[in-house]
Amino acid sequence: MSDIRLVNLTKSYGEGNAVSEVNLEIGEGEFFSLLGPSGCGKSTTLRMIAGFIRPTSGQIFVGRDDITALPPERRDIGIVFQNYAIFPHMNVAENIAFGLKLRKLPKAEIARRIEAALKQVGLAGYDDRYQRQLSGGEQQRVALARVLVTEPRILLLDEPLSALDKGLREEMKFWIKDLQKKLRITTVYVTHDQDEALTMSDRIGVMSKSRIVQVGSPQEIYERPKTLFVTSFIGHSNVLDVTVTGREGDMAVVVLDGREMRARGAADLKPGASAKLVVRPENILMGAALGDGEPRLAATVLSETYQGALVRYRLKLGSQEIVAERQNQAHVERFAPGTEIMIGWDPGWSEALTA
């Protein structure tokens, strides 16, 4: 059963829509990410779920309850803000006690829960500290403890890692994911960082220009992008101009640089139409790595960039440029600039999309 259901959720401001007809079902205990560039409507969607913004139209359900009209304090939804919003005039213990006192729990119970919560987030003994005495990572843990201690039905996280430096961000990514898994709390995570979304999520909803453009597991989103936007927003991709010539089973047949090849593609690709062929740099096979089944294309090496674990090549394929990446393993073939080589890819790892 789905835990959160958004039905035709729309928010318009004056002339434009911040969020347009978003329909989503998020399962119980699921870690769901809303991923998109700034201004795509992901934060507005989150704030509507939290109750800070009233939708122009549409509904929000939690379980069987329509919560669209409920004020935030009656939604039982916890939220962690980008800047953590630790109350500066209260110490850590008072911050965590805030929600519990409002629930009129007995003092002993509050004290017990504060201690347990601080232990859970690894901040035992931090009771008396104030916000200004905490690092960014510590503030985030306090913000999480403050929310989790009230045992909300749903946890919302609004870009919680964006204010942290890179090292800490990596660490917190896994820490938050582990905590979420342990508590099995339905979580909606808003981010513009594809790495965070891919690493942490059970499913991702990619948003662009106020709409959800694709929903799927991290693997589906990365490997089977449905639109050029998703392709370009998530990871690096080669986007090549091709012409559609027909279909072969459930694959599309396209012509690239005068060569006919198969690619995965939706049935609505019409023969004769121009399209884009999307291939990830890591899926491009070069030289001896190329098998028999793959189409073989002649390319010229333009440059080779050594990146440690990876070696990156810029290649010229007819009139188009293409980027390839190879793992820098033992005995791997290296190609100097100017070298003429054969390249190709598994058709199952290439995607034809409407231009």
């Binding site: 939290a50 935030p72 919003a85 403050r146 009230t150």
Partner: protein, 267 residues
């Protein structure tokens, strides 16, 4: 610790001069009030507490002092509440009306007090709404004059106020009122206290607007001092000035102590 040496000597000298110019009248009033002579003169002819005693024994001055105190207190209470509410609106509303209203609310500061007093007086009299020469009418005048000070300080303390603090409180289960009381109000309290002190001081010393609105036989202290000087030129008025200064100084010290204690508590 700030590095004192970094402040240039010239700057220090100018600051010192300004301070002297500002404080000199205060010193003169205090000395004049401690005059041993029969008339208000400076420098005083010897020091004595004679006029201080006269002030304390004067029914006119003492009742004026209490009257001004009560008036300032009530005006401050009303201004603080109204001014704080207005600041909340001004700092949170994104509508164009807010920008226009901000200027409008500040008008009483820009407008000469005499003009405001005269305007109110004419309004009270011509509309015959029973406010002319009443305590309520005078109070309205004082609220108008003191409110901008509260609005200015509270609005300043709202700058950079993080709204997500209030939202966090709401999602933790607080009603809008509880979130405001337990979060916002606590955080802007220093601004509100500062505004209240300003309002009190301004109301206690208000003269020009008061001139038109006083209730017959119930003069506030500044009026009483003025009347006394016009007819007698006795140092009692200066002695009253000592007590007025003392009250203002005391309220400032007490309030700033309260505010900074809160700061210490927060640190």
């Amino acid at each position: 610790m700030r590095d004192e040496a970094a402040v240039s000597l010239l700057f220090k000298a100018v600051a010192m001069l300004t301070l002297v110019v500002l404080l000199l009248p205060v010193v003169i009033v205090v000395l004049a009030g401690l005059n041993a002579g029969d008339y208000l003169t400076f420098p005083p002819k010897g020091l004595s507490l004679r006029w201080v005693v006269a002030f304390l024994g004067s029914a006119t001055f003492m009742s004026a002092y209490v009257y001004s105190f009560v008036l300032a207190l009530v005006a401050t209470l009303i201004s603080t509440v109204i001014g704080t509410l207005a600041s909340l609106y001004l700092s949170r509303s994104r509508s164009g009306a807010a920008a226009a209203l901000r200027g409008f609310f500040m008008l009483p500061v820009v407008l000469p007090g005499v003009v405001l007093g005269l305007a109110l007086y004419i309004f009270y009299v011509t509309t015959d709404i029973g406010l002319a020469r009443t305590f309520a009418g005078l109070l309205i005048g004082h609220v108008l004059v003191t409110c901008p000070f509260v609005i200015a300080t509270v609005t300043a303390s709202m700058v950079g106020f993080d709204l997500s603090l209030e939202e966090a409180a709401r999602s933790l289960g607080a009603s809008p009122w509880t979130a405001f009381r337990k979060i916002t109000l606590r955080l802007i309290a220093p601004g509100i206290s500062a505004g209240a002190i300003f309002a009190f001081i301004v109301s206690f010393g208000q003269f020009e607007t008061t001139l038109f609105l006083t209730v017959p036989n119930h003069e506030p202290l500044p009026m009483a001092m003025y009347i006394s000087l016009r007819y007698k030129f006795e140092p009692t008025a200066a002695a009253a000035g000592i007590f007025a200064i003392a009250l203002v100084a005391l309220s400032t010290v007490v309030s700033s102590r309260l505010v900074s204690l809160r700061r210490v508590f927060r640190a």
